[in-house]
């Protein structure tokens, strides 16, 4: 089965999804990530989905779950590079991914993780 690689960059983990996510792959990623956060004590997880063109409710929920799991393990999750079509689909599916932080690209996502203010949304919108 295909596995998504998880890279470590300092205190952050970097996950780049470059294939169409199968449900199995997504489940495996969730488990791998939980194990990796635990093993490395990472404080941030950055998921790059800029190559993801199709999402369904399962993948949408999986993103929310990963973020939830990471939060419990004391790490912040930032999802970056979401395509417009994916964003619209998620909204239409009623998945607003509350609690998942987002950024336009990897660079900004990294900045968000490093700024330490990642836990707080801009404009004083605490989450």
């Amino acid at each position: 089965m295909q596995r998504i690689p998880i890279l470590q960059m300092g205190t952050s983990l970097l996950v780049t999804i470059q294939v169409d996510l199968q449900d199995q792959t997504a489940m495996a990623l969730q488990e791998d990530l939980a194990a990796k956060i635990d093993a490395t004590g990472a404080s941030g997880v950055l998921i790059d989905i800029s190559a993801l063109e199709i999402v369904d409710s399962f993948i949408g929920r999986m993103l929310a779950h990963i973020s939830g799991i990471a939060r419990v393990l004391d790490a912040t999750t930032v999802v970056v590079g979401m395509q417009p079509a994916v964003a619209i689909t998620l909204v239409e599916l009623g998945l607003s991914l509350e609690g998942v932080r987002t950024a336009l690209d990897v660079e900004r996502g990294m900045r968000l993780l490093h700024s330490g203010a990642a836990g707080e949304r801009r404009f004083g919108r605490a989450r």
Partner: protein
Amino acid sequence: MKPDNNAIDQILAARRDDVLRDWLAEVSASASATARHVTTAREDAQSLLKALHEGVRADGDPSRLQDPAWERVRGLLEGLSSSRAAKGLTAADTSHFVLALKRPLFAGLQNAMGTRPGELVSAVWSLSTLVDQMAQLTIANYQRNREEIISRQQQELLELSTPVVKLWDSVLAVPMIGTLDSSRTQLVMESLLQRIVETGAEIAIIDITGVPTVDTLVAQHLLKTVTAIRLMGADCIISGVRPQIAQTIVHLGIDLQGITTKSSLADALALAMKHVGYTVSRGNA
């Protein structure tokens, strides 16, 4: 050939020019000012008469315009109504053009069969049915053309009314004008998200000064747009919330928690610039 068709055939064969002249006179006598400007009226009438004659020769059933014999007549009528709809003629003018054909043809029948009232009534009836159907077809077609024009204009209006403008480095704005419905929200969402990807803008301002009313549905559409923008990794400010709209939102119990709102576009721009790290100061003049 049916006797009625035979009678019409004789008139069209012997006196087509007279019929044409009388027809055009009839049309221009009661036409409106715009209709008189239709320069193609003569050619239209000529070709229509010719097609009608062919149809009669082919012995088409006058009570059924769908008959294959009337194919050319139908084609001509369709062309005629579309060109007139495009020129902005009224439905009345367009149908009158066809209906005016009755009088010269009736006069011809009267001349030819005045002594045989039985046959005359029958011929007049079938001719009348035929011309009525022609007029009906013209009107139906005219209507369809107008509807096409309207829906095309609607589409154009839709696209015109939602421009995404770049206000500052990393700051985009969409001034919304008019009522927000699902299709417009979809369009705004798509074009705004696309521009966010292209420009890498961090903040999008949706200005609703031009939105006349905000109800639960409109609020829901706004919320969707804001959520999609957030998912992309940008932030959203809604500006131009008028006092009445603020009251309506509160009275309806719409939850805009987590959405930044500002009363004017200027306030929103100030906040956006502060967020992206710009400070504005007045120069010493």
